[in-house]
């Protein structure tokens, strides 16, 4: 994989530059994330359910949904105007294209997470201490996994009818394990439990990332026309 990295980084940098030129997707996804936080806050009865009980689920559902909406763009951009042809003409293999797209997508999701997490702390009155670093790590590990799946899926769904609906319909099932693990670990972290209790979950996320990144590198070439 290391020999693919330089070319992949070039592709990722291209995607980042394109996004920075307009900032449409990132701005929209971030606003979407903050809006979900607001909606969640009003979707509970404050006298019956305390903020602390709901907080971990709210954070993870928000991060997952806001992250997911950035993924559609990755290949929609290449499809429009046939830009994908240019990528395919480059003297690199298809897995390298995947890696580049994946790295850019992870970067976008991390940016969204980096904004959602402080807003979450603000809205949900979460104490600011080192556990936030661990929660950020969990969010990053989860993103690294489901973005691998999402990158493969979005390469296919952009070429179907109802692309915007098809991606979440397929991707959400893959988002369940990391979100479930993330909620469990975050609940323990916010509850002041020792770190040793969440190490198993961290490993789970690491294995999930390795497996689906490998699978993505293997399967992605099948999503591109000969």
């Amino acid at each position: 994989m290391a020999d693919r990295l330089p070319a992949a980084l070039v592709i990722a940098a291209k995607d980042v530059r394109v996004e920075l030129a307009s900032r449409t997707a990132l701005t929209a996804a971030t606003a979407f994330g903050v809006l979900i936080l607001v909606v969640f806050n009003f979707a509970r009865d404050p006298t019956a359910v305390s903020l602390e009980v709901l907080a971990p689920s709210v954070l993870w559902v928000t991060a997952a949904f806001a992250g997911m909406v950035t993924l559609n763009r990755s290949f929609a951009m290449e499809r429009d105007g046939g830009a994908i042809e240019g990528l395919l003409l480059a003297p690199i293999d298809r897995s390298t294209i995947f890696l580049g797209k994946y790295l850019a997508n992870v970067a976008f999701v991390l940016v969204v997470d980096a904004i959602v997490l402080p807003v979450f702390v603000l809205f949900f009155n979460v104490p600011i201490n080192p556990t936030l670093g661990w929660i950020a790590l969990l969010l990053a590990l989860a993103a690294a996994g489901y973005v691998a799946v999402g990158t493969v899926l979005s390469a296919m769904t952009v070429r179907t009818r109802f692309a915007e609906l098809m991606l979440p319909a397929l991707l959400l099932a893959f988002v369940v394990p990391p979100v479930l693990v993330g909620v469990q670990a975050t609940t323990r972290l916010l509850g002041g439990r020792p770190l040793s209790e969440i190490l198993g979950w961290v490993w789970f996320l690491v294995i999930y990332d390795v497996v689906f990144l490998t699978l993505g590198l293997m399967l992605f070439p099948a999503t591109i026309d000969e």
Binding site: T160, A169, L180, F204, Y208, V211
Partner: protein
Amino acid sequence: MTSAAAPVIRRGVVLTLLGLAGVAAVYGLALLGTPTERWQGLAQKILYVHAPSAWSALMAFFLTGVASVGYLLFKDPRLDAFAEASAEVGLAFGAVMLTTGPMWAKPVWGTWWQWEPRLTLTLLLVLLFIGYRALRNSIDDPEERARYSAVVGIMALVLVPFVHLSVYLFRTIHPQPVILKPSRPSLPWEMLRTLLASLGAFALLYVGLVTTRYGIGRRDAGVTP
């Protein structure tokens, strides 16, 4: 117009009818020839439909994944047609599993649904394969459709252990395995006999339905099976 797939479809229909007759016989055997469980009462009879349909559904999705791997390796359209047929039949069995489960759970557990590993896993798989079908329906080019669905089929196969592991850490109230476990089966012989007979009937039904659906798929594609 007779298609070259007609004999396959005919064979599939015959097998399906045999399977259905088998399921009907299992109903008779379960109600008349099998003792009623002391604590669960008549509700326990659902086991003879629920468990085999769940196993058949999981087996169907598993075989879809295996055929998907095969398709990407050999690019044989027959493997894709089989994957499509198996996924669809899996959804049908999945529907039986998801409707009979709550019917049993309400009187025995006191609740329709429980978020425990097996229920969550099977529900997610059914939902994912509904997405798989939607994806298939939204692509017109047969070769592209086959490649894309194979990718999703393989990813679904890999997802299973992760879902299972992540949900397993919650406590489970689902009945523990009664046959496939290290010690001797814990069902009394009369019940085990009915369950195994039902498993056979459902396996036959699976083969019949998949053969029929495979034949129809090949006929619609306008090729010889």
